[in-house]
């Protein structure tokens, strides 16, 4: 546990003791602000039955920036260490492979959770700054942050896996965004082809956009919860073995 803690804080420092972490934080805050203000404009133009939270996160632009956060956060994790050779120093210290994998994942995930803070603050500011009663309730706000945190865990794990494949950061980033896009588009299959096709229930089961829609209505469904947690565990398991395998093969 001590080893994990040391590695975790080292990784976390790498994010926030350089401009990198702050830049991506600013980018996330900016995009979140744009989404919120677009949703608010929409409310101004036409009366709507959904809440402001739902409208903010239903905009297609949300996915554009959200999916791009993960390659940026994770591409460096393993590929940089394997390129510069520091992985050798790390794995010849009395450290278990899972310490390394879990500490890197947790540091990237913690950074992702920090990126969510501005979005949360925006909604709080809305209540504080406008005199109108908030056009959303606590359940919806909690729901949306729960699902964002869950999706973030799986997507960060995908990023770790991609970073393990190669010693080039760029390729790791491209592989990561590729995996995320495929995962996202598989969730849209029922949207394009209707729910009469075979395996429609499978596609809607893994559909991140449907999960987001459900949770941002304030419905805490246990199926996505289990799906994201189990998948995160599985992908990290693969990452652990890939890291060892690359060493064995080399």
């Amino acid at each position: 546990m001590r080893t994990f803690r040391i590695l975790f804080f080292k990784e976390l420092k790498a994010y926030f003791l350089s401009p990198f972490g702050w830049l991506i934080c600013a980018f996330a805050a900016l995009m979140q602000g744009l989404l919120l203000s677009t949703a608010m404009k929409g409310f101004l133009d036409t009366p709507r039955t959904e809440s402001l939270v739902f409208a903010t996160f239903q905009a297609p632009t949300f996915w554009f920036y959200f999916l791009f956060l993960f390659p940026v956060l994770t591409m460096r994790l393993f590929s940089e260490e394997s390129r510069s050779g520091t992985l050798e120093g790390l794995l010849t210290a009395p450290v278990k492979t899972w310490h390394v994998v879990l500490s890197k994942f947790c540091a990237a995930y913690a950074t992702f959770l920090i990126l969510l803070i501005p979005a949360f603050v925006h909604f709080k500011l809305f209540t504080l700054l406008t005199e109108v009663p908030p056009p959303f309730n606590t359940g919806e706000l909690v729901g949306v942050f729960v699902i964002l945190a869950l999706m973030g865990a799986l997507f960060t794990a995908f990023g770790c896996l991609a970073s393990c494949f190669t010693s080039s950061q760029i390729i790791a980033g491209i592989v990561c965004i590729g995996i995320l896009l495929i995962h996202f588009l598989l969730g849209l299959v029922t949207f394009f082809y209707g729910d009469k096709i075979p395996a429609a229930s499978f596609f809607s089961f893994i559909s991140s956009s449907e999960h987001l829609a459900t949770y941002s209505r304030g419905l805490i469904d246990s199926r996505p919860l289990v799906y994201y947690l189990v998948m995160t565990g599985f992908i990290l398991f693969l990452t652990h073995h890939l890291l060892d395998y690359r060493r064995w093969k080399k």
Binding site: L91, T92, A93
Partner: protein, 310 residues
């Protein structure tokens, strides 16, 4: 300290390390020699637990490197080739991180940090970022990193690679000092370094151990005797026709010097000394003789003899 038994590493069909066996006693400074691609780094990586062996076994301080890898790693200080470091960290920060990773904490970590920075001459750069340091200083950071947890065994992969002569001397001195308290296994190309610092040499080539002994034993057992050089005041043809008649002489070449003397290079069979007979011959024939010497083999010749491809 180290016992290696039939250790192998295969990459597909390529046998990078092929059933090597040797032992290192506690307190030895062992030079691990071999041409490029001989399998030195692969062997060291297997010993440090970075690469798993294909077959065979090795024990360090009585612990199996594969089954008790974590315990073994605690006993080893390893400096990889090219010294990979986290360049965006500061020297002291890096060493503190590495020390903590090896299980040091509190006062002990602080004392050890001070000690290794002092030993490796890093005190005045401790607040500098590693990326701003020169190669020599990075090498020292790597060495400090390997030393911080007071390991029983130091494994250094080409510790003087790419350093200037002054830095090489400094590192060599450091290794000699460290050898008083640690067992050291170091790989290198620089043979003079091995002759000066090591009390045992292991030479490997194409994944196989070619020799494992002390440098002086290797040199004397090799005594190719090689070549006797003598300078006589006679015509080259005379010498070339008469000298080969002496026992053990295999070949004679000559070179006319500017002052009228001739230098003969007399090649003789291994492990023989023909100097007395050559001197007697010169006296018998009445040839003026002004120099007669045998070149002693050095480690470099041993190395070349053991690893040459022709």
């Amino acid at each position: 300290m180290i016992e290696i038994v039939n250790l192998s590493k295969h990459y597909g069909r390529h046998h990078a390390v092929d059933e090597i066996s040797f032992e290192v006693q506690r307190g030895d400074i062992v030079g691990f020699l071999g041409p490029n691609g001989a399998g030195k780094t692969t062997t060291l990586r297997m010993l440090t637990g970075y690469l798993p062996p294909t077959s065979g076994a090795a024990r360090i301080a009585g612990l199996d490197i594969f089954r008790e890898s974590l315990e073994v790693r605690k006993k080893i200080g390893y400096m990889p080739e090219n010294v990979p470091l986290y360049v965006e960290m500061r020297v002291k920060e890096y060493l503190r991180f590495r020390g903590a990773l090896r299980g040091l904490s509190g006062t002990r970590l602080r004392t050890r940090l001070g000690e290794v920075m002092e030993t490796c001459g890093l005190s005045h750069v401790r607040r500098k970022m590693i990326k701003t340091l020169s190669k020599g200083y990075r090498q020292r950071v790597g060495l400090a990193d390997a030393l911080i947890h007071e390991p029983e065994l130091l494994i250094l992969d080409e510790p003087t690679n790419g350093l200037d002569p002054n830095q090489i001397r400094a590192i060599r001195k450091l290794i000699q000092d460290l050898g008083k308290e640690h067992t050291i296994l170091l790989s290198t190309h620089i043979l003079s370094e091995v002759e000066m610092t090591c009390n045992k040499v292991v030479i490997i080539d194409e994944g196989k151990v070619r020799a494992a002994d002390s440098p002086s034993n290797l040199v004397s057992s090799m005594r190719r005797a090689g070549r006797v050089t003598m300078e006589l005041k006679i015509a080259p043809e005379v010498g070339e026709s008469i000298l080969p008649t002496i026992e053990h002489v295999t070949k004679v070449t000559s070179e006319l010097l500017q002052d009228g003397w001739t230098r003969f290079s007399v090649f003789v069979a291994p492990n023989t000394d023909t100097r007395i007979r050559l001197a007697a011959l010169a006296a018998e024939k009445g040839w003026p003789l002004r120099s007669l010497s045998r070149r002693n083999a050095n480690l470099e010749e041993v190395f070349v003899e053991l690893t040459r491809k022709d």
